[in-house]
Point group: C2
Chain length 365, copies 2
């Protein structure tokens, strides 16, 4: 008998249907055909999904745990998502809430190369929360983005990421933007060895060429949106570039009906995200306090040999929220303010400095 | 001024908020920062999203049309999805309903190489609906799957696809399965030159190796799940393999809060799907009659130089539904029955023949 992943779904259905519904999900996410027509015993024993538990959460919502054979995933990232939620994603009344992976799966996907401690080390931080901002708007030229980045670096910020909308566009080609910004950051930085994270996009060939540009510019950290490039490309890129740290962006992840703590916290971490950006509660997006707490927990909690992934709450944050956010998340966090700093215009370096000082001071308070 | 894509969202909000909400979406899907902090005139004129129309659909739902600059997409598949819905996908109260692409975008992505007529030609069909079934369950060995495929071919079916759960697993390695099934189909087929579609999975390197196995086995048609492998990989594979026809599978597409007619009909077609599988109304999944009609319409309607993509309604279909489905979809359709045929067990070839004859007879009736 091979090992099984336990996939945990939350389903809206009537109590009298729930046994049958659980069985239907177990079939849909494994053999996807009438079980009565399966004659091979090993398929019935080892491949058909098995209902492990059903729990009534109240309010017409049930939690259903299904054991899915690890062998069906081929230990490949896309196929794993396919087995967890491929067809069932089409049902509007169910979400993929969580999954418990056996050690074999953890070993195969292997998680981040650097994680929380690696990202702290890159900027010489010890035990404190990290700071981050974003280069935007798109439409600026490489020198204009470089000038903004220099202001952030002058303000002493730890990480500067490209806006996830910056890709390889005519007004700011990747191969021109990345060295220009990298050079400006190096020239402007003071005590903090500020890191610039270019945003990667495209297919695996394009991603690999971009990684070469990144390395050529002396950089070692990047931004990527796993649900845009596809989990198979994301995982391949992580594994073949152990010197590079990857910050994951949630674009298109929110559209999937997969619980954010599982997708952005656990699954992105499993596939190798060193940091995971997500919309903080009380910002432009609708994640709740509980979801944010669970997401940070999933990213950080001890998990076999898998390194912790640093949570990066974002999405409309401002400097005056820093004390509250640090109380909420503690110091194992990277705080990201994008537009809230850029709105300062000519006072950008000063505003950045105020943000950085608010974060550093909290750790010492 | 560059051209713009018109992205059409449906949003639940209060009437008094809707102007501001539309503006917020236009900013979120373009520059993603306070517009007041943007000083460069060309960004304000050419990059910031523009609200083109707001329409009250009743019931607290509004349709919002936003013009997004084509230049922001870099004419790359993933980045196009990112610009259309990346961050906004995180809002539970809005869906991406549709998008209108200027000719520049259509030319860049170029659509299917074969489409409806190409898939008819491959099996020598003229003007009639096509038939399809699926090889499953996973867990069978290559010879066992090959034996099933032979029964389908004996029944005179047009297309046999791998179950989308078949990937590259230890119990059925891709490189063993594909030639075994291809050979069995060739040996068993009668008048209809039945085509076998292996299911591709993995990253772009793996996909390319699989395409070589496919070609080496004398095959020219494949199954792929664009939302699992990622749109950038899907589009790259289509463009570099003009001899291969691609059937798109909706796994994980249903989870995105993107209207199925747009995603599975229009966008998959734009990126090169020759056929698009979707859950028919009245089957195991919840698509409505109207959604199915709109999806088939989006896949088939005249669209510049973009070839029509054949709709493949599926998901729990049975032979007795064929007359009704043919009345509904007409003959520009591929009808897919998977489990409904496999349930026949030893009578599989006969059941397949009955299915095929029901479809052919309808065309002549």
């Amino acid at each position: 008998m091979g090992e099984r992943i336990t996939a945990i779904y939350r389903v809206k259905d009537r109590a009298e249907n729930i046994q049958a519904r659980a069985h239907t999900i177990a079939v849909e996410q494994s053999v996807e055909m009438p079980v009565s027509a399966i004659t091979k015993q090993s398929v019935l024993d080892e491949i058909v999904g098995e209902v492990q538990a059903i729990r009534d959460l109240g309010g017409g919502v049930f939690e259903i745990a299904i054991g899915l054979a690890v062998s069906t995933t081929g230990l490949e990232a896309g196929q794993t998502l396919n087995m967890l939620f491929g067809n069932s994603s089409i049902h509007a009344d169910m979400v993929l809430h969580d999954a418990i992976f056996p050690a074999e799966v953890r070993r195969a996907f292997a998680g981040p190369h650097h994680g929380l401690e690696g990202l702290r080390k890159r900027v010489g931080a010890e035990g404190r929360a990290l700071t981050c901002s974003a280069l935007k708007p798109q439409g600026l030229s490489p020198p204009e983005l470089a000038a903004l980045a220099a202001q952030f670096a002058r303000g002493g910020i730890d990480y500067i990421k490209d806006d996830h909308g910056l890709a390889d566009q005519a007004y700011s080609p990747f191969a021109e933007r990345v060295p220009a910004v990298a050079e400006a950051v190096r020239a402007a930085q003071g005590n903090v060895p500020t890191r610039y994270l270019p945003s990667l996009s495209g297919n695996l060939d394009q991603l690999r060429r971009q990684i070469e540009v990144v390395r050529g510019a002396g950089l070692d950290t990047v931004l990527i949106a796993p649900m845009i490039v596809g989990l198979p490309s994301f995982h391949a890129l992580v594994r073949e570039n152990p010197d590079i740290a990857f910050m994951a962006h949630p674009a298109m992840a929110g559209a999937a009906r997969i619980a954010p703590p599982f997708l952005l916290g656990k699954l992105f971490r499993l596939l190798g995200a060193d940091a995971t950006v997500f919309p903080n509660h009380g910002g432009r997006f609708g994640y709740t306090t509980d979801e944010c707490r669970a997401l940070a927990g999933a990213a950080l909690e001890p998990w076999g040999d898998i390194k912790p992934c640093i949570p990066v709450p974002a999405g409309g944050m401002t400097t005056d929220r820093m004390p509250e956010m640090l109380d909420f998340y503690g110091s194992d966090v990277m705080l990201l303010i994008g537009g809230g700093l850029l709105a300062a215009g000519e006072r950008l370096a000063d505003e950045t400095k105020a943000f950085v000082e608010a974060v550093h001071a909290h750790g010492e308070g």
